[in-house]
């Protein structure tokens, strides 16, 4: 460990330090605003340090971390997402009785965990990052203790995440016992089909078990069952966090170590991933079809979107990794936007989750509804939005790799998906029901930061959808060195 190593680790250090500092601050005196400020400053500083540390890249720090432009890029995205989550969490918590401060602390910790995931190159750091993320998430999911569904969600997530961790660990142990190495780069080797080299069964089984653990975090079929319940039960900002930071971090890891840019993906892992992708796309979209809870709809849709991402991953080649990254970015921006609209709409004791609470929204709050429409259309992949270009890139990657079955499934399932996005849109543009019957309390006035954040997200969705050129160059540069 020398000076540049510390510089490279600066972002991680800052986030962790902020967490510690925040803990001390809370212990001294509780102040909601101050807690938010500290957390935001910490995140901003971490973001800034990314730029600062960029000069020393790429760099391997001990055997645990690999810090290159790829990990920095994903860290930036994760940090940005965390910032937005916190901004909306402030409004959300402000009108609830809970003591709000610890949420920031836990979110910071979880973010740090996700960042570790992104940068890890070793089983140990992988495991640590994963658990840091998970344990913090257990707590925040059940954060609103007054809600029984919140606790239920916490229990479910805990039980299942812990089991999946165990499975994952077992898989890692299997690989370790076979190869004697804890390097994550073994996955790339295992995934690549090379002449004369066949994976031994323990390694293969290990890879599968690891995929189970990863798949659980990403919520791909058949490890998806927890998703809707946890999405529904968790407080809205936390749901947004799960959907973005948690999944983003894990996918970054998956992309880094399972991506194959040259040659083909080896038999069994490729087949399993393909099956997972197809099943996720279809199941996710089908399950959302007639849901009436918007949070659950978004949960199911996230399953489908992870399926689309897997398509890009499977496609590989020159386009696979950039396409997946672009898609993930677009998805994170969009889903943040969607959850932020929902947060803004929620009242103090009540979340805007049921479809009915959106009835006639357009005629009452046109801008908010327009923003939500934008997000939904982006999720559906309609042009001029980020989601469209994301889908375009995924399709390009798939076409370049001639993955026709996957592409066809993607097309069919996203058409099914369109149906439920449209359902929400229809409700928003329908005649409003009689005023005063539905809402128990008038929705709170929207605070300035939330407004600005929402505007920024909407802007980003359009920017990514209309002028992706610069961003795409960055992504291509960042993903150039993947396996």
């Amino acid at each position: 460990m020398n000076h540049p190593d510390f510089a490279a680790l600066l972002p991680l250090t800052i986030v962790s330090a902020t967490a510690v500092f925040l803990m001390i601050a809370i212990a001294i005196r509780r102040n909601h605003k101050a807690a938010l400020t500290i957390a935001l400053i910490g995140l901003a500083a971490a973001l800034g340090s990314l730029a600062l540390a960029a000069s020393v890249l790429p760099r391997q720090v001990t055997s645990f971390f690999i810090l290159d432009s790829y990990s920095f890029f994903y860290m930036a995205i994760l940090l940005g997402a965390a910032v937005f989550v916190l901004l909306f969490a402030y409004d959300y918590l402000n009108c609830r009785e809970e003591q709000p401060e610890e949420l920031y602390l836990l979110v910071l910790l979880a973010t740090a965990g996700a960042m570790v995931l992104v940068a890890s190159r070793n089983f140990a750091s992988f495991f640590l990052g994963l658990e840091l993320l998970s344990v913090a998430l257990y707590a925040v999911i059940a954060y609103v203790r007054t809600e029984s569904i919140s606790i239920e969600a916490g229990i479910k997530y805990l039980v299942l995440a812990a089991s999946s961790s165990a499975v994952l660990l077992f898989g890692l142990a299997l690989i370790y016992s076979e190869s004697g190495s804890m390097e994550l780069s073994q996955f790339t080797t295992a995934m690549t089909r090379t002449a004369g080299h066949a994976n031994s069964f323990p390694v293969l089984a290990g890879v599968m078990l690891v995929l189970t653990g990863v798949g659980f975090k990403l919520a791909v079929v058949p490890f998806h069952l927890w998703t809707p319940d946890v999405y529904e039960g968790a407080p809205l900002p936390v749901t947004a966090f799960i959907a973005t930071v948690s999944k983003g971090g894990m996918f970054a890891l998956l992309l880094r170590w399972f991506h194959v840019s040259r040659g083909e993906i080896a038999g069994a892992p490729g087949l399993v991933l393909s099956i997972l992708a197809i099943a996720s796309m279809l199941t996710g979209n089908l399950l959302a079809l007639r849901q009436t809870n918007v949070k659950r709809i978004l949960a199911y849709s996230s399953i489908a979107h992870m399926g689309y991402l897997l398509v890009a991953l499977l496609a590989g080649g020159t386009f696979g990794a950039p396409a997946a990254t672009y898609y993930l970015t677009a998805y994170i921006v969009t889903i943040l936007g969607a959850f932020s609209v929902m947060t803004v709409l929620s009242g103090s004791r009540w979340e805007a989750a049921s479809l009915e609470s959106y009835r006639g929204l357009f005629w009452q709050k046109p801008l908010l509804a327009a923003a939500f429409t934008t997000m939904l259309l982006s999720l559906a992949g309609i042009p001029l939005t980020a989601g469209f270009l994301g889908k375009f890139y995924v399709l390009t990657a798939g076409a370049a790799a001639s993955r026709w079955v996957l592409l066809f499934t993607l097309i069919v399932s996203s058409t099914i998906g369109l149906f439920y996005y449209l359902r929400i849109v229809v409700v928003m543009y329908a005649q409003p029901t009689d005023p005063g019957t539905k809402r128990d309390a008038p929705a709170l006035p929207i605070s300035l930061p939330a407004t600005m954040a929402l505007a920024a997200l909407t802007g980003l969705v359009f920017l990514l959808g209309i002028y992706p050129a610069l961003f795409w160059d960055t992504i291509v540069a960042v993903t150039r060195n993947l396996g």
Partner: protein, 624 residues
């Protein structure tokens, strides 16, 4: 002065548009002036044109006025251009003059109708379309006029639109003729594809150059055109619409369904006679259709009770004569009969209109004894009827029919059978004509006469009477003056009549036999339907069949109409939609099934996790 040609079309058309757009705000007087005046102007213009044409025939006896290229696409360049030659000149005169007289008549006849302006708008539009049909230099423009007159016919049959049966009759007319038009259209495709032009003269020129007589393509082309002609001219098997078409106002029946439009088929065949000459079998078919239709319709006419339906069947029958003539190759004879028929049939219809107007009744069996009160109508009927039945020497119909009858033996396709059929037809014609006159004008008067005629009606009737009498002298056979002026005039376009068969049946024999038939028919009519006879409609089976027009309607109803209605009813809900909705159902089913997996139980979820793990490892084991 031939440049005036386009005006003949433009004037009535402009008047029609004017009347349609602002007819409701014009006074009746202005409407009458516009409606009848425009056709009068057209008649005047065509008079000037024909005078010029006759005085100094243009080179080749034809004159073409190009207006503009209609469309031009890949070698297909139909023009909006008018073509004048003796045949079209003859038709032009008939259409404008008879048309004008009928318009004049209508000025008074339709005076009290609320749709006065609408009526004249339709009628003017009809005249414009008919003239377009007649003057068209290419088949596509002819087709435009062809469909245009069909439209006007439809509009005028359904003129009194409040009566459902009028509306039904109108659409029946339109649809049935469209059957023929469809064949016509396919014929146009065929002609253009094979000959690369639709210009009528060019088509005939190239066809005779490229096709050998009796070749398949010639037969197909001629047969398809014949399909169109059969529809429009109400010949077998598409004759069923015409009797129903009598639902329209009487002047309409006179103009469209007697004098002009229904003879368009005859005109078409005469116009494209080269094609038919190249397809002898089709030409023979024309003759057969003509003869069969003629007999069939004549029998039907005997049984009809409605005065206008008698005339309608008579029209079908007379057009059958013309078709017979065409089939025999006696082109100019067909045109001759077309002209005289226009005169006397228009006269009969107009006179019938007077009767109907006077007594508000169309059933012959309820009329009777109208002779004294409706003197002009009576005499018109007598003159028109005599012409129709072929009273020798002094009526126009005699000369034209005589020519056809003689050709049915002597012409290139003639034989004894046609001659006999023709003679039978003549007998029947005479029979039903005088049956009608006897039933309407003789016997006991049952109905009160309510209306008197004005000047316009009288003038038009008298002029038509005159034409029905003297119209035949333009072309007299050798034994009765021998001045075949019309035939000679038409000979530059249509091949002259030929005498192939000589022998027992000579011109004189034919004329005498026809006269005999006339007398026989008259006598029979007097015996059966005369004033002394019982005046009850007969009820035997045969007459019922005749009354129903040989049951064609019934047959088509069962064969075509009902199955089609059944088809539309069954398919209205769009069967293709079902599988697609089924797909949606399947999707929803998938949703329901998958929803069951979301039990909300942690242990089940963990089981899912476990099963997934096992499955992946199993795949790894199996696939390696």
């Amino acid at each position: 002065m031939l440049q005036l040609l386009w005006l003949v079309v433009a004037i009535p058309f402009a008047s029609a548009v004017l009347l349609a757009l602002c007819g409701s705000s014009l006074s009746r007087r202005a409407v009458a002036l516009l409606g009848a005046g425009s056709v009068g102007l057209a008649a005047l213009a065509s008079l000037i044109i024909s005078a010029t044409f006759l005085a100094s025939a243009p080179p080749g006896n034809e004159y073409v006025q190009h207006l503009w290229t209609w469309m031009s696409s890949g070698g297909f360049r139909p023009e909006i251009a008018f073509y004048l030659d003796p045949v079209s000149l003859l038709m032009l005169l008939v259409v404008t003059f008879v048309g004008f007289l009928i318009h004049l008549y209508s000025v008074e006849y339709m005076r009290d109708d609320e749709g006065y302006a609408r009526f004249f708008a339709y009628m003017n539009l009809f005249v414009a379309s008919m003239i377009t049909l007649v003057l068209a230099n290419n088949l596509l423009l002819l087709y435009l006029g062809w469909e245009g007159v069909g439209l006007c016919s439809f509009l005028l049959i359904g003129f009194w639109y409040r009566e459902p049966q009028n509306v039904r009759a109108a659409s029946k007319a339109f649809i049935v003729t469209r059957f023929g038009d469809t064949a016509f259209a396919v014929g146009l495709f065929l002609l253009f594809t094979r000959l690369d032009t639709l210009d009528i003269q060019e088509v005939m020129h190239r066809a005779s150059a490229r096709w050998t007589p009796g070749s398949g393509v010639a037969i197909a082309a001629a047969a398809l055109l014949l399909g169109g002609a059969v529809g429009k001219s109400a010949q077998l098997p598409l004759q069923t619409w015409l009797p129903d078409a009598m639902a329209g106002p009487t002047p309409t029946s006179a103009l469209i369904h007697a004098a002009t439009m229904v003879t368009a088929g005859v005109y078409l065949i005469a116009r494209t006679h080269v094609l038919f000459a190249l397809a002898p079998s089709v030409q023979f078919l024309v003759a057969i259709i003509g003869a069969a239709t003629m007999l069939m319709a004549a029998f039907s006419a005997i049984a009809q009770r409605d005065m206008k339906r008698v005339l309608a069947y008579s029209t079908i029958s007379q057009i059958g004569y013309m078709f017979l003539a065409l089939g025999l190759g006696a082109w100019s004879a067909a045109m001759f009969h077309l002209m005289t028929h226009a005169f006397f049939k228009a006269l009969l219809f107009l006179a019938a209109g007077v009767v109907i107007h006077a007594v508000h009744e169309q059933d012959l069996y309820r009329m009777g004894g109208l002779r004294s009160e409706l003197r002009l109508a009576f005499w018109s009927f007598v003159i028109g009827g005599s012409a129709l039945a072929g009273l020798p020497l002094i009526t126009a119909g005699f000369f034209s029919k005589d020519l056809i009858l003689w050709q049915s033996w002597a012409g290139p396709n003639g034989n004894a059978w046609f001659w006999i059929v023709g003679m039978t037809g003549a007998l029947l014609t005479s029979l039903y004509t005088f049956r009608m006159i006897l039933l309407a004008f003789y016997g006991r008067q049952q109905l009160h006469v309510k209306a008197k005629n004005g000047l316009a009606v009288r003038v038009s009737l008298i002029v038509l009477c005159f034409l029905s009498l003297v119209g035949g002298y333009v072309d007299t056979p050798p034994h009765f003056g021998g001045v075949p002026a019309l035939s000679n005039f038409l000979n530059s376009v249509l091949p002259p009549l030929k005498e192939v068969h000589v022998g027992p049946i000579t011109e004189t024999v034919t004329a005498l036999s026809a006269s005999t038939m006339f007398a026989l028919g008259l006598g029979l009519a007097y015996l059966i339907f005369g004033p002394k006879r019982s005046r009850l409609p007969a009820h035997n089976l045969l007459e019922q069949l005749w009354l129903a027009g040989w049951g064609f309607d019934w047959f088509y109803d069962k064969l075509l109409v009902r199955p089609f209605q059944w088809l539309t009813r069954k398919s209205a809900s769009d069967l293709v939609d079902a599988p697609i909705n089924g797909l949606a159902q399947v999707t929803v089913l998938g949703y329901r099934a998958l929803r069951l997996t979301q039990t909300g139980r942690v242990r089940w979820y963990a089981a899912g996790l476990a099963m997934g793990t096992v499955a992946t490892v199993a795949i790894a084991l199996l696939v390696r």
